[in-house]
Structures are given as structure tokens and as C-alpha cells.
């Protein structure tokens, strides 16, 4: 077009980014990406390759040499060898390496960005302005945490060797999110990049060499899901960190069950984008652009469900209809492209078929006119309007540039719709009313809530999900705890399961028969089974009966706990008062409880008295914490705040050990309810009577009904029912190792947050163990609420 013609059309023309430096870089590597193990790129004698495609053209970009299982083995060994020395470095020494990596990323920023866009298909604007700067930021920020670790995380040490598996949607950024905190905390890593996008990981490896990072600290194994499985299931690793689909996350949870590996999962989402009638609608429209038409909608936290208040629904959809026309779909390397290529043909077909299903179910299709590029994998920005909650596309993650919309009438209906999903990753709330915004934010089940903004990400603020979006946080102080463990763990010994005593004919009788029932919804109720379980002391004397709880009792208890959820909204002060009161009431009956402990466990009078007084003290400890376990305000680079709020998990299952029956029960229940959870507890199978005696203490301590529910019976089967229950948000298990495995396995189906002792016995009497900070951390989850401000 000549200038005269352009003056008529006023088109933008093209502004292609020069790809030759990136292609030259690939050429110098003979268009081959190799595993990186122990500081070296691996060369196999009989290498097996697969192609990596440029999704914008469908053409081969490079070939990937797939790692073998023995590569995985070597990588884990290298990481193991490197871990001790790496952890022994001072925080400052590690900080210097991370700082060097951050600087090198900035130095090579354009090369990273161009390679990323070539490999992934994302617009160069995003890789250049968002991905790569966030990567550098992540390493800078965590260089700081390395420097401060000793001071800020006392009593903590590295987890060890971490196996990490990352997705293709933000190849380099997800690598940074995984590697930076792991290294900062003194771990070494073996990371598997996504098979579709391994190139920038290779450049990162080069940078590790340039930074002089000790060999084996970072290892990369390339390949498909089988290599990922080989890595996550490898015996030599201490932790798995996975970002990807909920489906694979579930598999990893099940397969790592009982391995003792620490686990974080960052999975899928169907995040709500809520627009109230007093929002700045034009800004909310741009929020939608950032939410679902960012990275082709291939974003786990994409705001993919638009919930719009009825009075403005039509107007807002009209505005979106208009806005969608201006989005430019095309060459990712063109600087004026808004929407680049879908990662591959499979994903494109998935998107197409899901949209078709949405249309079949009655949605209205809104897409811009115009042709898509003839080559490569492209899909236009799409709005499916007037979708029903029952519609498949309203529930399933599409992972493409497809927004579904529905309307709501009131704030409470907005919350109801927002939470009507199996996921809980992110949410965006648009209103100019701060009362409304701050009311909604805590009510939405999501690890991240953006108020009047969306998809803000930063190293200083934790990111991660609830429900089937996974558990664990990446970024911020809260993210560090995924890569450390308490130092006392290494000194623990396996639990000794005392053999069940052999019943004899002796009976310890009391004056009047006391029958321990179950404690559900604030009432003592008979077990559904109609059976009682005989309880014997260690010498085999019958000392009483407890109810034989079963599946239905667990179901009833979970329902009662669910009904008691308003406990989470009560003030910390109120919860403190009640916990103190429990301690007080226990104290007035201390002798009775000590007698019982002697009777059930045959312990000495002194030991029994000590357990009771420790239990009273523990109630006081968590009464004290109830109004003091504060959140943080993170320093994120916006004019505004990111509020890291510590929220209760919701309904928790607590499975208590046999040892220290009263104190262990207290040590688990007290922190859980102090933080606002309602709990379903399964006490020790052998020694439940100290716990059933507590019913009367609870009843006289103003504890609202349903906050603590207790089901006695066979611990293993009750724990299994709890772990499988979709209405239970988190479960703690203290018992033998097979029990830990069972709980972790059974919890996989709804990606329940678990905390198991892996068969190790902690000393409940030692405050550092039995009342460690870990109890509070496990009783809460951090929600980051981003609130930009300014008028």
C-alpha cells in the first residue's frame, strides 16, 4: 500500500519482530534441544527425537531429544549430590546466584521473548512485556528470600530434591515460579518442561552455566508425560511441584500417595469474573480482555465465566460485542497482535468442539468478523452469551479464548454462582463500592481475588488454588513454605503401633453406666449402625463402650460441620473466648480426665496429669492464636495492596493417633477451630474415651453446634470415608504409614488438601512439634486479594 492509500484506510500495517537472532541461536544448537543434567547438555548414543512445532505456522521449529528414564535417574542423582553443598551455602551466596540469573534473564530478554513466542504462539507483546519481566522479577524477589531465609524462616530447612513438571502455557514463567523459590530455600531441582515448549528452558540452562551455578542444582529432563511420571514417581525426590491439568494432578496425587513426598498442585480453573451494576463498565470490558483474551485464554486463572448483574447485562454484553471486533488475531511475532496461536491442533480441536457443544446447548455465539490466518492453529476471541449453569461450557475449563456469560440478581447470588464450580483458583470482582468488593472477596472460593483488575501476577504475592484447582502457593512469603520443612522432622521415629490388647474377662465398672455416643451437630447421637465398640485398657480389661461409627455417621457429621460454617465468620476474639472456656472447663475436671487417662492407657498418675495440663495449655495456646494469626499486605508493584488473607479451609477431617489420646486430639482440633474451620474428628480407635469425655466440656463451653463433631469407631475406614468425601476441604491424618497412603490416595478425587504424618511419631508434649506453626499454616489457606486504588 502506498502512503496515499494508507491515509484512506488508516490500517496499522504489520510490525514483525525480527526473529533472526532467535533462529540463529537455534541454528547454533543444530535445532536440537537436549536434556540438561549435572551442568551439561546430554548427548545420547542413540538419541530419540520428537519435533517441536511453531503453532503459528504448523512447521517444525526444532527437535527435542527426549530424556530417558536413566536420564531422570542421573538427574535426580546429580541433584541429590548437589543439594547438600547448595543448602550449606550461606543465604547470601545463594542470593548472588539467583541475582545473577535475574540479571542474565534481563540481558537476554528479547531472545527469551522471541523464542517463547515462536515456540508457544503467544503474542510477542505478552512474552516481551509480561512473561519475561515477570521471570526476572521472580528471580530478583527470591534472591531476596535466599538472603533472608535464615532470619525469616527459623527452624526450617530445605525439603531436598524437588521434581517439577510445568505446562506449555507460560513455559519460562512457570519454570521461574518453580525454580526460583526452590533454589532460594536451598533445594535442588529436576524440572521437566512441557513437551510442546522446551526451548526457553534450554536457554535458561545456558544461563545457569553463564551464572556459574554449581552443577546439579538445576537439571532439565525433556520429554512427554512418561518422563514426567518417571520423575514424579522417582524414589529419589522429596517433593513434587506440578502445574497443569486437574486430571494429571489427580493422577500425581494418587501415585505419590504414601511416598512421603511433599506436594504442590496448581491445576485448572473456571474462574468467575463478576461485574456489578456500579462498576466502571468500560474498564471491566478491558478487564475481560486481560482475563480471557490474554495468552489465547490458555491461562489456568483466566476469568472465563462472566457473571454480570441483570440491570447492566445487556449494556455490558453490547460493549463486549463491540470490543471483540477490535482484537487482532494473527502472527504472534507481529507487535500489533492481540491474540496469537493456539498451542497445537489438539487443543484447537478441543476448543472447537467445546464451543460447538455450548451452541448446541443454546448459547449465543459472539465472534468478530474476519478471516483467521490460513496456516497454523488459530481461534477467534469468542463470547458464548446466555449460558446456563447446567451447560457443559459453564462447568468445564475450555482453555481457549472463549468466555461464557450469565447473569445474576444480587450479591449473594453472584457468590453462589461464582462458587458453583469444582474449581477455586481465581476471581475478579468489579464494583466501585468498596463495601461490596471487600464483602465478596472473602466469600468467593479462590486463592486469588482481583478487585477491579485481573490477571495481576507478582513474585511477592502468593498464587494458587482451592478445591480442584490444587493446593500450595507460589510466590510471596506463603510460597516459601512449599519448599521448606521443619528441622525436627528428620529426628522423628516411626510410630510404634501398640498391638491391640487381648481382652480378658476383667471389667472396670463405674457406679452408673456411662455410654459414649457420637458427637454430631452439638448432640450426642447414637451410631447409625446400632453397634457399640468395646474398649479395653492395655491389660485387656473392658473399660467401656463407644459408638461404632460408620459411613453414614461421617456423612451426618460432615453435614453438621458444613452447617456450622458461619464459625469461620465469627470474630477471632469470640473464638478465643470459647477456646479459653474449653480450657477452663477442662481444668475444673482435670483430675477426672487424668484418672481416665491412667485407666485407658495405664500411664502413671504423673504422666496422666501432665497430659491433661498440657492439653489445657494447648487450648490456651490456640485461644491465644485465634485473634493473632494475621495476614500480610504484600508489596506488589501497583498503586494498591495485595492482601494476603489467612482463611479457614472450611470443613476439615482430623484423624487422631493412638498415642497421647487427649493431647493429640487437642493439638489437632484446637488450631483447626481457632482458625475458623469446623471439624469432623476421628479419635484414636484404641483410646477414644478421653475424647468422648470431652462432649460435656464442649457442651458447657458455648461451642456452637457442629463446629466439632466426633465419630468413634474403626479409624481406618472412617478416615477413608472422610478422605473420599467431596464436602471435606482438608484432612489431617496421624497414624501409621499405610493410613497416610490411604488418605492421600482417597483424597485425590477432589484434590483435597492433606497433611499426613507419613507414619512418623511427633512428640505431642514438645511445643515445637506438637504446636508448631505448621498447625496454623495447615489450618488456613492464603487468599491474595489485589486491590488497586486511586481516584
Amino acid at each position: 500500500m502506498n502512503i496515499e492509500e494508507i491515509l484512506n484506510t488508516m490500517d496499522y500495517g504489520t510490525a514483525p519482530e525480527d526473529t533472526s537472532p532467535a533462529l540463529k541461536w537455534l541454528d547454533a544448537r543444530e535445532w536440537t534441544i537436549k536434556p540438561f543434567i549435572n551442568g551439561e547438555f546430554v548427548d545420547h548414543d542413540a538419541p530419540v527425537y520428537f519435533d517441536t512445532i511453531n503453532p503459528a505456522t504448523g512447521e517444525r521449529l526444532a527437535q527435542i531429544q527426549t530424556a530417558t528414564e536413566s536420564d531422570v535417574d542421573n538427574a535426580v542423582k546429580a541433584a541429590r549430590k548437589a543439594q547438600g553443598p547448595w543448602a550449606k551455602l550461606t543465604g547470601h551466596e545463594r542470593a548472588k546466584y539467583l541475582y545473577a540469573i535475574a540479571r542474565l534473564i534481563q540481558k537476554h530478554s528479547r531472545l527469551f521473548a522471541v523464542l517463547e513466542s515462536l515456540d508457544n504462539g503467544k503474542p510477542i507483546r505478552e512474552s516481551r512485556d509480561i512473561d519475561v519481566p515477570l521471570v526476572a522479577r521472580h528471580f530478583y524477589h527470591h534472591a531476596g528470600w535466599a538472603q533472608l531465609m535464615e532470619r525469616e524462616l527459623p527452624g526450617m530447612e530445605p525439603v531436598g530434591v524437588v521434581g517439577q513438571v510445568i505446562p506449555w502455557n507460560f513455559p519460562l514463567l512457570m519454570l521461574a515460579w518453580k525454580i526460583a523459590p526452590a533454589l532460594a530455600m536451598g533445594n535442588t531441582v529436576v524440572l521437566k518442561p512441557a513437551e510442546l515448549t522446551s526451548i526457553t528452558a534450554n536457554l535458561f540452562a545456558q544461563i545457569c552455566q553463564e551464572a556459574g551455578l554449581p552443577k546439579g542444582v538445576v537439571n532439565l529432563v525433556t520429554g512427554d508425560g512418561s518422563i514426567g511420571a518417571a520423575l514424579t514417581e522417582h524414589d529419589g525426590i522429596d517433593k513434587v511441584a506440578f502445574t497443569g491439568s486437574t486430571e494429571v494432578g489427580r493422577l500425581i496425587r494418587a501415585r505419590t500417595a504414601g511416598s512421603g513426598k511433599k506436594l504442590t498442585l496448581e491445576l485448572g480453573g473456571k474462574s468467575p469474573f463478576i461485574v456489578f451494576d456500579d462498576a466502571d463498565l468500560d474498564s471491566a470490558v478491558e478487564g475481560i480482555v486481560d482475563a480471557i483474551w490474554f495468552n489465547q485464554g490458555q491461562v489456568c486463572c483466566a476469568g472465563s465465566r462472566l457473571l454480570v448483574q441483570e440491570p447492566i447485562a445487556q449494556k455490558f454484553i453490547d460493549k463486549l460485542r463491540l470490543r471483540i471486533k477490535n482484537l487482532r488475531v494473527g502472527d504472534p511475532l507481529d507487535k500489533s497482535t492481540d491474540i496469537g496461536a493456539i498451542i497445537d491442533g489438539n487443543q484447537l480441536n478441543t476448543i472447537k468442539s467445546l464451543v460447538q457443544r455450548g451452541l448446541d446447548e443454546g448459547a449465543e455465539l459472539i465472534q468478530p468478523d474476519g478471516d483467521l490466518p490460513s496456516e497454523g492453529y488459530f481461534y477467534p476471541p469468542t463470547l458464548l452469551a446466555n449460558v446456563d449453569t447446567a451447560s457443559h461450557v459453564a462447568q468445564e475449563e475450555i482453555f481457549g479464548p472463549v468466555l461464557v456469560s450469565m447473569t445474576f440478581r444480587t450479591p449473594s447470588e453472584a457468590v453462589q454462582l461464582a462458587n458453583n464450580t469444582r474449581y477455586g483458583l481465581a476471581a475478579s470482582v468489579w464494583t466501585e463500592n468498596i463495601n461490596l468488593a471487600m464483602d465478596i472477596a472473602p466469600k468467593v472460593k479462590a486463592g486469588v481475588v482481583w478487585v477491579n483488575c485481573t490477571n495481576h501476577l507478582d513474585a511477592a504475592a502468593g498464587f494458587g488454588g482451592m478445591r480442584e484447582s490444587g493446593f500450595g502457593r507460589e510466590g510471596g512469603r506463603e510460597g516459601l513454605f512449599e519448599y521448606v520443612k521443619p528441622t525436627f522432622l528428620k529426628g522423628l521415629k516411626p510410630i510404634v503401633t501398640s498391638a491391640a490388647s487381648t481382652p480378658n474377662d476383667d471389667i472396670i465398672t463405674s457406679d452408673v453406666d456411662r455410654t459414649a455416643k457420637l458427637y454430631i451437630g452439638g448432640k450426642q447421637s447414637r451410631p447409625d449402625s446400632g453397634y457399640a465398640r468395646a474398649i479395653y485398657n492395655p491389660k485387656g480389661k473392658l473399660i467401656g463402650h463407644v459408638g461404632e461409627g460408620n459411613r453414614k455417621d461421617i456423612r451426618n457429621a460432615v453435614e453438621a460441620a458444613t452447617a456450622a460454617k458461619s464459625w469461620a465468620n465469627s470474630t477471632g476474639h469470640l473464638r478465643a473466648q470459647i477456646l479459653y472456656y474449653i480450657g477452663e472447663n477442662l481444668s475444673t475436671r482435670a483430675d477426672e480426665f487424668a484418672d481416665r487417662l491412667q485407666q485407658v492407657s495405664g500411664s502413671s498418675a504423673k504422666a496422666a496429669a501432665n497430659e491433661v495440663s498440657s492439653a489445657i495449655s494447648r487450648w490456651f495456646t490456640y485461644a491465644a492464636w485465634a485473634d493473632k494469626y494475621d495476614g500480610n499486605v504484600h508489596s506488589v508493584p501497583i498503586r494498591g495492596v495485595a492482601l494476603a488473607m489467612k482463611e479457614a479451609n472450611g470443613v476439615m477431617g482430623l484423624v487422631c493417633p493412638d498415642e497421647a489420646p487427649l493431647l493429640a486430639f487437642t493439638s489437632m482440633v484446637a488450631p483447626a477451630i481457632a482458625m475458623g474451620n469446623s471439624v469432623v474428628t476421628v479419635p484414636s480407635t484404641q483410646n477414644p474415651l478421653s475424647v468422648t469425655d470431652l462432649y460435656q466440656v464442649f457442651e458447657t463451653s458455648d461451642l456452637p453446634s457442629g463446629v466439632v463433631n466426633i465419630v468413634t469407631g474403626d479409624r481406618y475406614s472412617l478416615a477413608k470415608t472422610l478422605a473420599e468425601h467431596a464436602g471435606v476441604d482438608a484432612i489431617w491424618y496421624h497414624g501409621d504409614k499405610p493410613g497416610s497412603k490411604m488418605v492421600e490416595e482417597a483424597s485425590a478425587h477432589n484434590i483435597k488438601r492433606t497433611w499426613c504424618n507419613d507414619g512418623m511419631a511427633i512428640d505431642w508434649f514438645d511445643e515445637n512439634q506438637g504446636a508448631s506453626d505448621e498447625f496454623l499454616r495447615q489450618a488456613t489457606q492464603v487468599k491474595n486479594v489485589w486491590v488497586p486504588y486511586g481516584e
Binding site: I3, I6, M10, G13, D280, D334, K335
Partner: protein, 331 residues
């Protein structure tokens, strides 16, 4: 209605667009206006990052910037000769050899208007005789707008009589700051009436309105009262045209158009001195309002030093060498 009428405004042939006739004051609408500063800033910052205009396209867009420029002198030391020189530049804003190299000899490129104080109108009209370049006059006690209302109306009438085709009025900022929307509406209506056939641009002095919400409200009211253009600043406030303010005003134009079917023009003024900035502003107009707002009928820059930078960039486009200011005639 909303969607269709917006599409009409944004996409139909500009020849069918009607001059703004105004509408009754709708206070409910004004009060309901929202403007979220952080979100607006985020969007505003995205324009230069989301769109890149290179090579011939950049040259064409820079020419467009020139054609949409109100070449301006508003100084206490303006003289007739100074204004004549400016008018000469308006008639031939770009060196002839550059125009030739761009292949635009037949286009008769001029600036959109020349903008002066009332006292300089006659000089400018005379100097621009035989061209289609309108003379715009700042008015109504520019820049503070604190002369008696009756004199403001008189000033407009005199300027129109002197040959000004466009009148850039300043609003009484106090009406906004006091929330006296009725007064603002009435003031603007009377200004419009006094202008007659001359087009009226309402200068909001956004740097003095305190909040983007006020900017949005004042924009709506001036449009309801019949403004042909809304304009950011006098160039004399400490903060003049910015992208967030522009986005706020342009969104108000879009909403007003959707409601009434009238296309109102936009003029950012003050502080736009780089060629690259002018591309960003044009991008903002195209993205938010569409192709029709890339013509002088609906878009103007108020600028004095922008032209020089554009000329240098155009010379660079042709020669591949960076130019210097002394190689281009000053205006």
C-alpha cells in the same frame, strides 16, 4: 439501540454523521458515571504496547497527525507577524521535498486549523485566505474562564464575527468542583448558542478537575449541552493532556454517541510534542472510536511543537538518517 447505534457511529461512512444537537440534561446519567483510575491507567498504558506502526504506515499516520493538528500560538507576546508565520507553516507544514518523496504532492497537506487568541483572528483569516484552513479562537476568558459570563458570550460573538470558524471555550471549573451540573450545562448551552454555525470545542481543563470521574461527568454535560468537540486542556494548567484523561473522555464520547447518535470530536491539547505520542493518540482514537475519529472533523491535536518532531521523523523515514530541527522551517 445501544450496540447498533454505536456500530453506526464507529463504522458507517462519516458523511452520514450529524452535528451534535445536544440533549436535555440527564443528571441520573451524570451521577451514575464511574471511572476507575487504576484500570483506566492500565488500559491507557497498553495503547503504545499493543499497536506498533512502522514504515510507510508510520509515515502515513504522521501525515494524519499533521492534518489533525490545530497549529497553535497562545502567548502574551504574539504579534501579527508571528501569527502570519504560523499560518504560513499551517499552509505548508512539511518541506516540499519530503512531501514529494512521500508521493503526496497532490494531497495539499495542511494542518487542521490555526488556533489563536481573539485579537489575532483577523490576521490569521487574512493570512489563510484561499485555503480551507479554519481559524480557531480560544475564548470565554481563556485560560482561567473567570471573566463575566456576559463578556464571554460577547467574546464568542466577536470572534465569530471576526471570521473564526471554531471557538475553543473554557468551562467554569468551579461548576464541576461544586457539583453544580445545572450551571455547567446552562453555561455550555449558551456558549454553543453564541457560536452559531461556528463549531465549539469545550475545554474542560482536566488538570484542574481533580478526578477522572469529574472529567467523565464534565465531558457528558458539555456534550449534552451541544459541544462539537471536547478538549482536555488550555495548555496552561500544570497537567495537560494525558492518556488516562483522554481515554476517559473518549469513552464518554462513545457512550454519548450510543445514546444520541451524535458524533462528538475530541481534542487533546498540551504536552503532546513527540511524533511517537501522536501515534499513540491516534491509536487510542482508532481503538476506542474507530476510523471516523481519525479525521480533522472529529479529532484534533492542540499542539505547537509537535509538528517539528513529525517533520524530523518523516525526513528520517525517507532518508534513513536522523534529522535535526534546524533543517525544518519553524512555524
Amino acid at each position: 439501540m445501544t450496540y447498533q447505534s454505536t456500530v453506526h457511529l464507529l463504522e458507517e461512512d462519516s458523511a452520514t454523521l450529524k452535528r451534535n444537537e445536544g440533549m436535555p440534561l440527564d443528571l441520573d446519567w451524570v451521577e451514575a458515571v464511574q471511572a476507575n483510575k487504576s484500570a483506566i491507567e492500565r488500559r491507557a498504558a497498553s495503547f503504545p504496547a499493543r499497536r506498533s506502526i512502522k514504515k510507510n504506515f508510520q509515515a502515513a499516520w504522521l501525515i494524519k497527525s499533521v492534518e489533525c493538528m490545530d497549529l497553535t500560538t497562545l502567548s502574551g507576546d504574539d504579534t501579527a507577524n508571528r501569527v502570519r508565520r504560523l499560518c504560513a507553516k499551517a499552509k505548508q507544514p512539511i518541506r516540499a521535498d519530503i512531501i514529494e518523496a512521500l508521493g503526496l504532492e497532490n494531497r495539499n497537506i495542511t494542518t487542521g486549523a490555526v488556533c489563536v487568541y481573539h485579537e489575532m483572528i483577523e490576521t490569521a483569516v487574512h493570512a489563510l485566505e484561499g485555503t480551507n484552513i479554519p481559524v480557531a479562537a480560544v475564548s470565554t476568558g481563556f485560560p482561567a474562564g473567570l471573566t463575566p459570563h456576559i463578556l464571554k458570550l460577547k467574546e464568542i460573538e466577536m470572534s465569530v464575527a471576526a471570521g473564526a470558524k471554531e471557538i475553543d471555550i473554557v468551562i467554569s471549573r468551579r461548576h464541576v468542583l461544586e457539583g453544580n451540573w445545572q450551571a455547567l450545562y446552562k453555561e455550555m448551552q449558551e456558549f454553543r448558542q453564541a457560536c452559531g454555525d461556528a463549531h465549539v470545542k469545550a475545554i474542560l481543563a482536566t488538570g484542574e478537575l481533580g478526578t477522572l470521574r469529574n472529567v467523565a461527568r464534565a465531558s457528558l454535560i458539555c456534550m449534552m449541552a451541544g459541544a462539537d468537540f471536547i478538549k482536555t486542556s488550555t495548555g496552561k494548567e500544570s497537567v495537560n493532556a494525558t492518556l488516562p484523561v483522554s481515554l476517559t473522555m473518549v469513552r464518554a464520547i462513545r457512550d454519548y454517541g450510543a445514546r444520541t447518535g451524535f458524533a462528538v470530536g475530541y481534542k487533546p491539547a498540551g504536552g503532546i510534542s513527540k511524533a511517537k505520542d501522536s501515534l499513540t493518540y491516534l491509536t487510542l482514537m482508532k481503538e476506542e472510536l474507530g476510523r471516523n475519529w481519525l479525521e480533522p472533523e472529529l479529532f484534533r491535536f492542540g499542539a505547537s511543537s509537535l509538528l517539528g518532531d513529525i517533520e524530523r521523523q518523516l525526513e528520517h523515514h525517507i532518508t534513513g538518517r536522523y534529522s535535526a530541527a534546524n533543517r525544518h522551517p519553524i512555524g
